[in-house]
């Protein structure tokens, strides 16, 4: 297969670590044959299949929606499945586990600090009518404009690339990080949610957005265009307004009553009963 200007062979330089065997991570090099269109993930599979079957990493969907394969590629955080070897333009591709998380093994980071920070900020709809939440009978009304206020931030796949790029996360384990904070803002801005006061209790302290200094690296590396930096600055505005007593509580989305006097058109079947 002709590759044009692209090389026949690429060297994968991978940071390996086996607990119990290695005291420190070591770099190992693996030359593999290159074919046009190979992603980093394809390269890792090639290494595992043809050279070293002990190489470990996380991957699942291989199409940029599950967030499993976050890793440092030539020093920059990104998804292995989304990154073409050709776009890197280097003959040696350096692959390392995501920074700022403990390494379990090879390219597998321990993401529990992320999950803990995320959970602590109640990343779900909080509202008083829990009966309706548990056994929904109708929709909550939300206009397109109201949805646009948080839609972008809802695309987060929790791949943790932003956490690896964030300069504050590089030294500070207490800071919640871009994922948790952007998701807190996603729910605070959702008109169906009434949990601002609950989340504020957590956000007002040192785990909140106060150690974000707008370096913007999180938004630069985000593979889904979530732009967590934008969410965090918008959230700071809300929290500062709240500190000054200037925050106006937005109206809560209300359930919509089924419209009265609507005739079902002939020939359209009823929806099947809910199975959940």
């Amino acid at each position: 297969m002709s590759n044009g200007n692209l090389p026949e062979q690429i060297v994968f330089r991978i940071r390996r670590f086996a607990p119990g065997r290695d005291k420190e991570p070591v770099w190992k090099e693996y030359p593999i044959a290159y074919e046009a269109g190979m992603t980093i993930l394809d390269g890792l599979w090639k290494v595992k299949e043809t050279i070293d079957p002990t190489l470990a990493w996380r991957a699942s969907c291989r199409m940029g929606v599950c967030g499993s394969c976050g890793m440092l590629i030539n020093g920059k955080a990104g998804l292995g499945c989304n990154t073409q070897i050709a776009e890197l333009g280097t003959a040696v591709v350096t692959v390392a586990p995501l920074a700022n998380f403990p390494i379990v093994r090879d390219l597998v980071p321990d993401l529990r600090p992320l999950f803990d920070a995320h959970t602590a900020l109640s990343p779900y709809i909080l509202r008083a009518d829990t009966a309706e939440q548990e056994e929904p009978t109708r929709e909550y009304y939300q206009s397109a404009e109201q949805m646009e206020a948080y839609l972008q931030f809802s695309y987060c796949i929790k791949c943790a690339c932003c956490m690896a790029a964030c300069p504050t996360c590089a030294t500070d384990p207490v800071y919640s990080g871009p994922v948790a904070l952007a998701q807190a803002h996603r729910y605070n801005t959702d008109t169906r949610d009434d949990g601002f006061e609950v989340r504020k209790e957590v956000l007002a302290g040192e785990v909140g957005p106060w150690r974000c200094h707008f370096a913007g690296e999180c938004s630069r590396v985000c593979p889904k265009g979530v732009d967590p930096a934008k969410a965090i600055q918008l959230m700071k505005r809300q929290l500062v307004a709240d500190a000054l007593g200037l925050r106006k509580k937005p109206p809560l989305a209300q359930p919509v009553e089924k419209p009265e006097g609507i005739e079902r058109r002939p020939g359209i079947p009823e929806a099947p009963p809910p199975t959940v």
Partner: protein
């Protein structure tokens, strides 16, 4: 209890300075931090040195004489430059970190536009203003005196 066999992997201060990802806004952040620390260090000493005016003309002239050598003048110019950067970039950050000038939430369509792209004109404007102040300051410090 299972022994913790994970390997720590935080970047540390290297993560402040570079960390492998080299966006321009990161450098504005790093410089803002360095100039802030420099200004603070100077300021703490400055309060003590200038307090000598409470003790009259003699004490004032003596303390000013101590800080008037060419090395001090250069140092003061660097403080002026640090101020120019920290203040103007700080003004930009004041607005940006309160959510102004960073764009509205959008539907992310590849290639993604981020708040950094919306901020870029403000960052460039700030750098231009800083450059003007640095040049004017240099003229005042070294040429017009």
């Amino acid at each position: 209890m299972e022994k913790d066999r994970r390997h720590p992997n935080r970047l540390g201060i290297w993560g402040w300075v570079g960390g492998g990802s080299w966006g321009p806004d990161r450098y504005l952040y790093t410089l803002h931090r360095i100039t802030g620390l420099g200004l603070l260090a100077y300021f703490l000493v400055h309060v003590v040195v200038t307090s000598s005016r409470a003790l009259g003309e003699g004490a004032w002239e003596a303390s000013m004489a101590r800080v008037s050598g060419p090395l001090f003048v250069l140092g003061e110019y660097l403080v002026f430059v640090a101020f120019a950067f920290h203040a103007i970039n700080g003004l930009r950050l004041f607005f940006a970190e309160l959510g102004w000038g960073i764009g509205k939430p959008i539907e992310p369509i590849y290639p993604y536009r981020t708040c950094l792209d919306d901020q870029r004109p403000w960052a460039l404007g700030a750098l231009l203003l800083i450059a003007v102040l640095v040049v004017v300051g240099a003229l005042d410090f070294f040429v017009w005196h």
